[in-house]
């Protein structure tokens, strides 16, 4: 490698997007606004999808049957983020994929809990642990309108 250091040109990107949700995601997010978590059911595959899908990913048939799931469910996978990442919540925080009662797939969200010792907290988040989706009072039709809490 050469020893001459190159000139460095700094630049920042600031981009704004307006993401269109589409009808299926819109219905789901409007449901959250009302304090309800809904999925779409594929009768042929006998699978309830959360997040909801417009088409079954197994049979590829359009889905129009909506079912309410939760509010309780079971943790299938979890982690606790300990290091700070720019733009994310201050650590430590827990997140988990939870299979809500009545659903066949898992939905990720924060688990609101006291985190002292990380390993001890992770033991409480082991797959199989039960949680409940708890809605905020002020909702804005976003996935963060609720978070999970451990059912004790």
């Amino acid at each position: 490698m050469a020893t001459t250091e190159s000139l460095v040109l700094p630049e920042d990107w600031h981009l704004h997007y307006d993401y269109v949700a589409g009808p299926v995601t819109t219905r789901f997010l409007r449901g959250l606004e009302q304090g309800r978590i809904e999925g779409t059911r594929s009768p042929a595959a006998d699978v309830v999808y959360v997040p909801p899908r417009a088409y079954c990913e197994r049979t590829f048939e359009p889905l129009d049957e909506w079912v309410e799931v939760g509010p309780e469910g079971v943790i299938e996978g979890a982690t606790i983020v300990v290091s700070k990442f720019e733009g994310y919540r201050d650590p430590p925080f827990a997140l988990a994929f939870v299979r809500l009662d009545g659903a066949d797939t898992s939905l990720v969200n924060f688990v609101e809990m006291e985190i002292g010792d990380v390993e001890e907290a992770m033991a409480r988040l082991a797959p199989g642990a039960r949680v409940r989706a708890v809605f905020k009072d002020e909702r804005e039709a976003r996935i963060t309108d609720f978070a999970y809490e451990l059912v004790t």
Partner: protein, 396 residues
């Protein structure tokens, strides 16, 4: 179909930054080194496959357009392949398809990445998630792997020490590879006590952000035999994709459990069938698997059938896949020791080919006959696999 083989390999050193080289220069460095090894010139190249993943790291959108003139691709077929982390693996497959189809005799597969050109790499890796359902939770490649590690631990009793055995051994193997970005002797205690990033992954469980370039040249049987070129013949290829939703890969109705890499198992089974491999641990000498996190060396070894699910942790800790073992896993140090994302899958292919060309230097496995390279991308949803052999495949 015609047989194809890798006749040239070019790699730059992998480092956090390359203050002496712009993006195009990295690509040139790798491309021309590969052609030199193959004793070919840019004029011998019939088509170019370019490996480039998200261009937000390098900061020039669709940067592939910048390299065409610089590597002698003007006037030739040129295509960019992008499959997230699996980009380099998919590009190598595409290069093979170009040659195996009989359409082109010599194809250059090349790419470069500058993951450290931005300080915001993990922000970019968060932007790969859906904005409505998943992006807001700090998901990135590290948390994605942490979730897999936690699940593997639960399913198989894998421990933090198993992970530390992976990282300390990878850093030690990388001491033999001058291109490796990270290398050295780390004690198990240092690995254990390193700061946690996302439980259970600590500092040494995670790959670095690397800058570098890589290339392989694939030629047809006709060119290889006419010119008498040494070659690492492609005897089997496979790839497999799965749903983006991690949540669909969990639970009783799972589409393949997220605690392992069933997509890699599928890809490998296809490649093994073509290559006639039935006992991979005995028949393969070298495996270069795309394992950006310590846990992935376990999930890869298990998916590739080098051991049964849940066995890899103990076997790695026992040194079963170390240099001199029945099969060597990531003798280069692997992705834990260098991850220039867009080309990491190509680096795996290149480092596997080097073994069969007797060009791997201090990490050469003497007399290696057969090697496998894999790559993973997306939400651990894409896997590619290529098997290379010193011997030309039987015609089929």
């Amino acid at each position: 179909m015609t047989a194809s083989g890798i006749v040239g390999v070019g790699e730059t050193p992998y480092r956090t930054k390359r203050p002496d080289a712009g993006y195009v220069e990295l690509v040139q460095e790798a491309a021309f080194a590969a052609l030199r090894m193959a004793q070919l010139t840019p004029a011998d190249v019939d088509a170019v496959v370019f490996a480039m993943a998200p261009t937000e790291f390098a900061g020039i959108t669709d940067v592939e357009k910048q390299v065409v003139g610089a590597i002698g691709a003007a006037g030739k077929p040129f295509m960019r392949v992008h499959l997230g982390g699996a980009t380099g693996g998919a590009a190598a497959l595409a290069g093979h398809y170009h040659v195996a189809s009989g359409m082109y005799d010599t194809v250059l597969v090349v790419g470069a990445d500058k993951v450290s050109e931005t300080r915001d790499a993990q922000k970019i890796l968060n932007l790969i998630w859906d904005p409505f359902f998943e992006r807001g939770f700090g998901l990135n490649t590290i948390t994605m792997a942490a979730l897999q590690a936690g699940r593997h631990m639960q399913l198989h009793g894998t421990t933090l020490e198993h992970l530390d055995q992976v990282s300390t051994r990878a850093w030690r193997r990388a001491l033999r590879n001058p291109n490796a970005h990270l290398r050295g002797e780390i004690s198990l205690e240092e690995a254990r006590e390193a700061p946690t990033i996302s439980w259970p992954l600590r500092r040494y469980d995670c790959c670095p952000r690397s800058t570098g370039g890589a290339a392989v040249v694939l030629s047809s049987e006709r060119v290889i035999e006419d010119r008498g070129l040494p070659a690492a013949w492609v005897t089997g290829v496979g790839s497999s994709g799965n749903t983006v939703f991690i949540g669909d890969r969990l639970g009783p109705k799972t589409l393949g459990d997220y605690g392992g890499w069933p997509e890699l198992r599928d890809a490998a089974e296809r490649a093994y069938a073509q290559a006639g491999i039935t006992r991979p641990r005995e028949e393969l000498d070298v495996v270069e698997s795309y394992a950006p996190f310590s846990i992935n060396e376990l999930t890869a070894a298990e998916a590739l059938g080098l051991c049964a699910p849940g066995e890899a942790g103990d076997m790695i800790a026992d040194g079963a896949f170390d240099p001199g073992g029945e099969v060597e896993l990531n003798p280069s140090g692997g992705t834990l020791c260098a991850n220039p994302i867009a080309i990491t899958g190509l680096v795996r292919t290149a480092d596997a080919a080097l073994q069969l060309l007797d060009r791997a230097g201090d990490f050469q496995r003497p007399g290696a006959q057969r090697a496998l390279a894999s790559a993973v991308g997306g939400s651990f949803q894409f896997q590619t696999c290529m098997i290379l052999d010193r011997e030309k495949p039987r015609s089929r």
